[in-house]
């Protein structure tokens, strides 16, 4: 979709102040870029998903309806030639603000290629990898920065929830949510955790003790161990902990009824999940992928499929906005439940 049509779709001149998540991420931009983005109409800011800085290239914004560039005058433009070009000092300053001038304290994060800001916003980085003994030690000469705005959408999981409830055991099914990037997996999982933790009386679901392994601090957005996002009254969060180790720790320490974690994908994650299944604890997990066939062909997930424990597979997409439930499958029969209307 072109930028012009994007403009037509947006209501103009709404008086509401910029939403808080955007204000949170704007702090990490140099002042002149901060004011460029902040002068956009509130309706555009409300749809902002990403801010992409690439050195010596146009400043790009990811919006719900598509990508656009930002001009030096602070207007959305479709032509990259008219866009503001990101300079080396812009990049340096952004890195310093993202890291709080403490790059040394974020070596592990750099190795993984992203840093999580207070509030659970993720900043992805690429540059020159420094390899030591065959493994990435850190990144240097950062060339691209992608700042992703994380939003809470209370009620996003409400249409999906009836299909995930095991009424016989008054709990939730083992559920795996998958989608390509930027389809709202984390946002949906966060709302799912909140609702399962608080309980849903209409669906006769009592509140469950939920343990969350939040390896990248995106789900709960913890600051010094305290969740900054609403993840429910009965939720315990293990922040910044590797998923596999964290799930085992939660099992031992917090007696959870449900364990939730984001973006599994390594063999050790699946091994830890197996332990969780055997302990009689339900799981809510997400994974990157665009079809069941694709998931089943991934080596680490093949074992998970062979266990036949997952009871619900949920595919998300953007066909009717971020977080659209495209399809739900029964995990045992792998037949679609035909609930596209969620």
């Amino acid at each position: 979709m072109g930028t012009a049509s994007l403009f037509r779709m947006l209501p103009s001149g709404r008086p509401d102040p910029p939403p808080d998540p955007v204000a949170e991420v704007l702090h990490v931009l140099p002042p002149h870029l901060r004011s460029l983005v902040a002068t956009l109409p509130p309706a555009v800011l409300g749809q902002l998903e990403e801010i992409r800085l690439r050195q010596d290239r146009p400043l790009a914004l990811g919006l719900v309806q598509g990508d656009a560039f930002l001009s030096p005058a602070g207007c959305l433009v479709g032509d990259p030639e008219q866009a503001y070009r990101v300079t080396a000092p812009d990049m340096e300053r952004t890195i310093q603000l993202v890291t709080g001038s403490s790059l040394y304290a974020l070596e592990e994060e750099l190795r993984n290629g992203f840093i999580t800001l207070p509030g659970g916003h993720r900043v992805g980085l690429t540059g020159k990898a420094v390899v030591e003994g065959g493994r990435v030690r850190t990144l240097k000469h950062i060339g691209s920065i992608n700042i992703r705005v994380s939003r809470e959408v209370p009620g996003l999981a409400t249409p999906l929830l009836p299909h995930l409830i095991d009424r016989r055991h008054r709990t939730v099914y083992h559920t795996l949510i998958f989608s390509p990037p930027r389809c709202g997996k984390t946002t949906l999982l966060r709302d799912l955790i909140r609702q399962v933790s608080n309980g849903v009386p209409e669906l006769e679901l009592p509140g469950q003790r939920v343990g969350v392994v939040d390896e990248r601090s995106e789900l709960a957005g913890c600051y010094r161990g305290i969740p900054q996002r609403d993840v429910g009254a009965r939720t315990d969060v293990l922040d910044g902990c590797p998923k596999a180790e964290g799930m085992t720790m939660l099992l031992r320490s917090m007696a959870p009824q449900v364990i939730a974690t984001d973006e599994i994908g390594r063999a050790e994650d699946v091994a830890a999940l197996e332990e969780v299944f055997h302990a009689g604890v339900r799981v809510l997990v997400t994974v990157h992928g665009s079809s069941l066939r694709e998931l089943a062909s991934r080596p680490a997930l093949q074992h998970l499929f062979s266990l036949k424990v997952i009871q619900r597979f949920v595919l998300l997409g953007r066909s009717r906005g971020v977080g659209t439930v495209e399809e739900i499958w029964d995990g045992q029969t792998l037949s679609p439940l035909g609930v596209r209307a969620c």
Binding site: H27, Q96, S101, S102, L103, A105
Partner: protein
């Protein structure tokens, strides 16, 4: 009578001026040593606990004597308020050390450290901090020699200079 009062004023001002300059020479080694201790503490915070710089600067400030504490507290507060380290460091330097016993050479060492602090790996940070501490060490030695040489000199010069002026004017 007026002449005597004038002479006393000249004597008082001259000796005072001498004492002030001598005081700067006497204070510089102590100030430099305090800075060295502070940098050592900062190195520990960075290398052993990887404490983020804003917090590390404030922690160092809590455990130090007045002027160094003020410098680190200002830099830490500036960093916490959304400045980059270089801006916060430079602002704190101007505010706390512009009118101090430190020489331009000492401030240059601190300023150079501000350019590199926080923007590289733990190992690198340690090297930069150690280099700054070594440079400060040289300055401490130089400052001690200068103190031994000039403290007495300036005190006497202030007193004797004002006496000379009095005799000339009498």
């Amino acid at each position: 009578m007026l002449k005597v009062l004038g002479c006393a004023a000249i004597l008082f001002a001259g000796s005072g001026l001498g004492a002030v300059v001598a005081g700067l020479y006497a204070r510089r080694p102590a100030d430099l040593r305090a800075l060295q201790v502070a940098l050592k503490m900062l190195e520990t915070e960075i290398t052993y606990t990887a404490t983020p710089l804003a917090e590390a600067l404030l922690r160092v400030a809590e455990r130090l004597p007045h002027q160094v504490a003020l410098f680190f507290a200002r830099a830490g507060a500036g960093l916490g308020a959304g400045c980059t380290l270089q801006e916060a460091w430079e602002g704190a330097l101007r505010e706390c050390y512009a009118q101090s016993a430190l020489a331009a050479r000492d401030l240059a060492i601190l300023r150079r450290l501000g350019y590199v602090l926080g923007i590289s790996s733990t190992g690198d940070q340690s090297k930069h901090l150690r280099l700054a501490m070594e440079q400060l060490d040289l300055e401490v030695k130089r400052a001690e020699e200068e103190a031994a040489r000039y403290v007495k000199l300036w005190r006497s010069l202030g007193f004797l200079g004002s006496l000379a002026l009095i005799f000339t004017l009498w």
